[in-house]
Symmetry: C2
Subunit: 200 residues, 2 copies
Amino acid sequence: MPKPLPLLTAAPVVRRDAARNREALLQAAAELVERCGVADLTTDAVAARAGVGKGTVFRRFGSREGLMASLLDHREQEWQASVISGPPPLGPGAPPMERLLAFGASRLRHHREQAALIEAAGSTWGENYAVLGFVALHVRMLLTQLGVHGDLGYLATALVAPLSVPVLRQQIDVGGLTEEQVIAGWTDLVRRVVGADSPA
Amino acid sequence: MPKPLPLLTAAPVVRRDAARNREALLQAAAELVERCGVADLTTDAVAARAGVGKGTVFRRFGSREGLMASLLDHREQEWQASVISGPPPLGPGAPPMERLLAFGASRLRHHREQAALIEAAGSTWGENYAVLGFVALHVRMLLTQLGVHGDLGYLATALVAPLSVPVLRQQIDVGGLTEEQVIAGWTDLVRRVVGADSPA
């Protein structure tokens, strides 16, 4: 059995009413993002919808960026859970090459859906090493199962790098590729990297 | 002959004294970065060293970030010139695989040397599409010369992505790889991508 991968750490223990306010604010922020997008989200509107004072937003999350980062953490945990224990081919049970290709397509869609939120959360979240560590370890485990030789830690980070939000913006929003072309390109990249050792 | 690659655009035309102040401020900033590093650089110190008022820094560069970005532009232009017309194997004259591997090692060293400046310049510079466009077109040209088939635009951006500052920080500063290990890893990645079409 592969080792369990590091998950994002849970929020620190807080008093019960503080925790309740935190959940209410995250729920309100999620609903407002869903309805109006990230750009128009104000902490005033989130506080009003959650029925708390504006000061509570800053006590619980530090800043608007911190609120966005917490909302992202929640979605990242859901996505990680689908990798660890969701249905195949993203989750366990499919052959490793199928899992790897499903990972790439799923990571791309997740990043495209969360791109505005990731940018609003700032560089602190975008370069979150707990998140990067999880995806790199997952890819490394699959490369091991595929019998790839070489510096698998390096190859894993190199395969994950083109799935980052800034690169996807460059390829899709600036370069005019479709999501399907990017997935096809990444699939080709993976087959070249893996195929050098074990034609798949 | 390959098409000329897009260069960073030159600074807009400014009055002669404004241009002189601009050059003096860039020179002062470069000297202070060299001596004290980026973190301790203040616009006050740059203005004092250049012999101009502090307001001139903001009139010429908009902000501290803008000054850092202009300093970077200057170094990026020098680096691009070494790719376009410098000595081989980075410049023209070497076989395409040698040029590609020299590009990766040189880009890594350039990004490591400029990392603090790139971070100080903020996301505006780090995701500068003129810069990304130059490196991606250069790699694409070399992949064409190497006879690689497939979506070369995609493969070029995928090969450039692991050379970005955040990925290098993750690999070297967090993951503990040496620069030599990263260069070896990137070389292996390139050989896998190119070798699938034409064993090199």
